[in-house]
Symmetry: C2
Subunit: 226 residues, 2 copies
Amino acid sequence: MPPTARERVRAELTAEITAAARRQLAEVGAAALSLRAVARELGMASSALYRYFPSRDDLLTRLIIDGYDALGAAAEAADDPAAPPRERWLAVCRAVRAWAREHPHEYALLYGSPVPGYAAPRDTVPAASRVGVALGRVLGDAARAGALPDTDGERDPGLVSEEAVAVLGGEHPALDEAVRVRALLAWSALYGTLSFELFGHFAGSVQDADRYFDRAMGELAGLIGL
Amino acid sequence: MPPTARERVRAELTAEITAAARRQLAEVGAAALSLRAVARELGMASSALYRYFPSRDDLLTRLIIDGYDALGAAAEAADDPAAPPRERWLAVCRAVRAWAREHPHEYALLYGSPVPGYAAPRDTVPAASRVGVALGRVLGDAARAGALPDTDGERDPGLVSEEAVAVLGGEHPALDEAVRVRALLAWSALYGTLSFELFGHFAGSVQDADRYFDRAMGELAGLIGL
DNA sequence: TCGATGTGAGAGCAGTGCTCTCTGTCGAGA
DNA sequence: TCTCGACAGAGAGCACTGCTCTCACATCGA
């Protein structure tokens, strides 16, 4: 059956709340996100918000999932399956960086310190893995196309879990443990680089952030074998 | 002249405050660190704390500097100048990880999302660079000992700043732009790996965190040429 | 000894997340 | 068509936060 009028207006208001919260998030950051301020912006009593989100943490969860989804969508959109693997890897990395620079507070919410007393619920996992899946697709396609150089078949099983294997390109002879570990390392290095840039840890070390990022991601591509 | 009795008791109480704050930090995290709770623990009025720290942010700054110093000291203590470069690199990385795992909240305070509305003052910079300096010493010693393989002398000046060059081993023919960029990348990759581990982003991907970390840091050492 | 300085306490302000109660409205079933 | 129950919003209130101000007291140097 179609949604009733009440359900429609409820969905609308829910969307308005998350939109206002996202706006506030971009302005003051997650830690300073205030339910009352959101209510003020919408011209309603703070207590009324609790009809839509049982707690501030639930509102944060909504924002986290939305953030992961937006970031994942940006990464997927930047991936051109027809391009050479190395270019695909660089394109996805650049897209992640572009999104992070456009939404620094959301990035911090996703990849910065966890909010104390708040544990991300299971619902966030699928959205959170989208970027990893996108990178894994590049890896898997490269392996299937024979674009990954043969390794010495190094074996060190038990380092990377089954789930990660599935994400990181699936089973393929060219994707041995060594390649997967490097891919995982490159993945976290991407976020290490971004965090350092956005959180100001490069301080004066890096002159031209754009060029440094491209060089760094190129090094990582080389490390994986792309 | 010797410190007066007043100065002595003042210094003592200041130390007690930071100790209580650090204890609270370890329990509830930076975002939930409450001045009033610290005061309660010390059995004094919250307003009295403001005689010692003009604001909560100043107390946080103190904790941040102390944290950087403790982390830096751990890194320096783990470095044995007589060991081979690769072992030195791994030892420092392991020490950083060990400290981070023992003080996750402090690590999050140092390398997680910046506290909104709070800009780290200049005073934190020297303490913050200690780990970088320790890693840079390993790199410089390796270069001077001829332990770094010759690169193709790739030149891409302007990527890494003068200050970073000074930290990353100083001037040496074996330390060209390529090596420095890789060192910087490895440095941020170390923190990317730690953040992923501590903030739970590896989720189910990594089975044995200890072994994975060693492998990953080994890959980074190889990337630099150690 | 006296005045300047440092110190702590208490009250109070504006803000927070959250709960509870009360009122009004809307819509589906009798 | 009427009624009753589910739902939505408002307001007051609780316990908490960082921070400021004033007031009383202790200490210490001239």
